[in-house]
Each structure stands twice: as structure tokens, then as C-alpha cells.
């Protein structure tokens, strides 16, 4: 059966179905993305991918650092820690300490931050994992390695008032629900070191329709 590498949820447009208004939002607003990944190589790549798509990027190496940046660690505060509004969070799934899934739950469990779209990245194209993330409220799930086309598509998610209705692609998730679960993430420790960066403006790309990527299946037995 054909499996797509990327999954989108069906989202209802919150305020307007006018796509012209939506593209105006892209042009005038510089998007701030919080990228979370324990791999230095991947952080470098995702940071560049985002900057080249006209985003401001803050890249951190753990879920804990991400929560600290948001001001959401341990005690919930009403203001973002750095005062910088975050428009999108993109996080790796497998990370030591707190997984991307756990980070997702914390964010969706916060009254202040639950509206921020969260995208999960993973090298493992496992249906149960994808389903779990989408059900917990993730906007999308990207199979690594991340490509420019993946990031360009993400710009759709970055505007609260401009979300465009998207069709759910592919198959009925329930039908293909995996019964077996995924192995937990590994646990060597990592030290947090957030770095703030600003992007240089570049012409934004138009949103691309969802296109299936060749899947790299690794369904556990």
C-alpha cells in the first residue's frame, strides 16, 4: 500500500476562507519558528531551511530548553520567556530526556501555548507514531531528512487566522492503525545551549499542495 511520508490534519479555517487574505499575511509577517533537535547537524540544516524560507529561527537542543524558552518549564507563566512570539514549533521526535511527543503534550496542555502549531520530525516512518502525534494535536509529521519542500509547506501552519482548509490526503488512518507500539527514545544526556538567530528577508514561497513522498517504511513487527 502506498504510504506518504508527510501527513496533514484536516483543519477548519478559523476566521476566513479567503486565500488572498492569507497570502497577504505571509508577505507582511515575519514568522518566528522554534526548532528543537538534539542533533547538531540537523539543527544546522533545519535552521538554514527555515531562514531560506524567510523565518526567524531559534534553535534549541532539547524539549527542556524549548519549554524554558517559552517560559513553560515547571511553573506556567503567562508571558513567553523572551517576549518573542513563537508562530510554529518544529521538533524532532526521538530526543534524550523529553521526546518530541512529550514536548507536544506539554505545549498542547498549556492554555497559553496550545494554539501554537507543532510539527514533528522523525527518521522513522511509523504509522502508530504518526497517528499518536496527530491525535495529540500535531499539525504535521515530517519524515527526515527534511527537505526544502517540506519546510515550504509548513508556512501554511504559521498563521492562526489564516489557516487554509486542507484535504486529508491518502488513506483512512483508522483502517491502517498499527496495533504494535513504537520503541521509546534513547537516553544519553545533552546540555542545553539555545542560540537566537534572525533571518534575512527573502521572498516567501507560495504554499504547495500536499504531494506524497516516497516512503521509507520501517514498521516494527
Amino acid at each position: 500500500m502506498a504510504k506518504n511520508g508527510v501527513f496533514s490534519r484536516l483543519r477548519r479555517l478559523e476566521k476566513s476562507e479567503d486565500t488572498d487574505e492569507f497570502s497577504a499575511c505571509i508577505d507582511s509577517h515575519e514568522v518566528h519558528v522554534l526548532a528543537v533537535d538534539d542533533s547538531l547537524v540537523d539543527r544546522k540544516v533545519i535552521e538554514r531551511l527555515l531562514k531560506i524560507t524567510a523565518c526567524k529561527v531559534t534553535a534549541v537542543d532539547s524539549g527542556r530548553s524549548a519549554l524554558q524558552f517559552l517560559g513553560l518549564d515547571e511553573e506556567e507563566t503567562s508571558v513567553g520567556f523572551h517576549g518573542l512570539k513563537v508562530d510554529l514549533i518544529i521538533t524532532d521526535y526521538c530526543m534524550p530526556g523529553m521526546t518530541g511527543y512529550e514536548l507536544l503534550k506539554k505545549i498542547k496542555g498549556s492554555s497559553t501555548f496550545r494554539e501554537i502549531p507543532v510539527v514533528i520530525m522523525s527518521s522513522e516512518n511509523v504509522l502508530a507514531r504518526i497517528d499518536r502525534c496527530l491525535e495529540e494535536g500535531a499539525e504535521d509529521f515530517i519524515v527526515k531528512p527534511v527537505k526544502l519542500s517540506d519546510v515550504k509547506r509548513l508556512k501554511n501552519y504559521m498563521f492562526g487566522e489564516g489557516r487554509v482548509q486542507r484535504q486529508e490526503r491518502g488513506f483512512n488512518k483508522r483502517k491502517l492503525q498499527e496495533t504494535c507500539d513504537v520503541s521509546p527514545s534513547p537516553s544519553p544526556p545533552s546540555s542545553p545551549s539555545p542560540d537566537d538567530t534572525l533571518s534575512s528577508p527573502s521572498s516567501p514561497s507560495s504554499s504547495l499542495p500536499f504531494s506524497p513522498r516516497s516512503s521509507r517504511q520501517s514498521i516494527p513487527p
Binding site: 547537524v41 538554514r48 526521538c94 527526515k144 531528512p145
Partner: protein, 149 residues
């Protein structure tokens, strides 16, 4: 003209790395992310990959040398190496890591040692090749040409 000659050499060498499976399409993605505003991007990412890989290979050596081998830890290291090699398009290293993880699952120390050797070999090969490629790029730019990346 020297630059033309260098450009041709670069082009041929670049093509061979793909034909021989050392690099895959993800490396092309990295090249696309390099431009005048960020002319050192490929070198930077590749350098990070080298540092990261060497650290992980050392950790793997040590971990397999323990009296009680911690296979979860080994799997974690291999997973990381698989991830970073995949992110830069180092296809053969990535494939060697996939094979390695299978033997981790089986908790087979001998096989893991062989896999480590294999991964290290593939890593050293792609490292040499990438260094050669980047050196060619450097030479072209030094000779006044535009970066072929």
C-alpha cells in the same frame, strides 16, 4: 583556462560520488541551501558531520569494549549517526548504520564489532571524498570561478 578545467573535474567527481552511492539526493538539498548570502553552508554542515561522527564512533568503540555491553546505548549512538549521515546525504554510512542496528537488536557483540568496522570504513571513505570535493570547490573559487556547489 584553469577554472574551466577545475569546473570539469569538479563536475565529474561530483557525479561519480552519486553514481557510486556515496552521496544521495539529500546532499543536493544541502547544495541548494548554499548561496552568496551563505557561501560556506555545505562546508559548515559537513564539518559538523565529521565532528559528530568521530565522537560517535569513539563512543561506540568504548561501549562495545565494556564488560557488560549496553545495547540500548549502542543503539542510541548508531541511531544518531544514522540520522546525521542521512541529513547530509551520506548514503553508504546511513545504510551501514541500518545494518548495525539490526545486530544491536540481536545483542550480537561479534556482529556489532564487525558493523562498527564497516560503519567506520564507510565514514572514512565519504570523509575523504567530501574533503576532495570541497577542496576542488575551494580551488575553483580561489582561481576566480563561481562556486560549483
Amino acid at each position: 583556462m584553469e577554472v574551466d578545467q577545475l569546473q570539469r573535474t569538479f563536475h565529474d567527481y561530483h557525479a561519480s560520488l552519486f553514481n557510486e552511492g556515496f552521496l544521495d539526493e539529500q546532499f543536493v538539498q544541502l547544495q541548494q541551501l548554499q548561496d552568496e548570502s551563505n557561501p560556506g553552508f555545505v562546508v559548515e554542515v559537513v564539518s559538523l558531520f565529521f565532528e559528530d561522527s568521530e565522537r560517535l564512533l569513539n563512543d561506540l568503540s568504548k561501549a562495545l569494549d565494556q564488560e557488560n555491553v549496553d545495547f540500548r546505548k549502542i543503539d542510541a549512538h548508531v541511531h544518531q549517526l544514522k540520522g546525521s549521515s542521512s541529513s547530509i546525504g551520506a548514503q553508504r554510512v546511513r545504510n551501514a548504520c541500518i545494518a548495525f542496528r539490526n545486530f544491536c537488536d540481536e545483542r550480537n557483540i561479534e556482529a556489532c564489532l564487525k558493523c562498527l568496522q564497516q560503519v567506520r570504513q564507510e565514514y572514512l571513505l565519504v570523509k575523504t571524498k567530501l574533503e576532495t570535493l570541497l577542496r576542488l570547490e575551494q580551488q575553483i573559487v580561489a582561481a576566480g570561478g563561481a562556486s560549483p556547489m
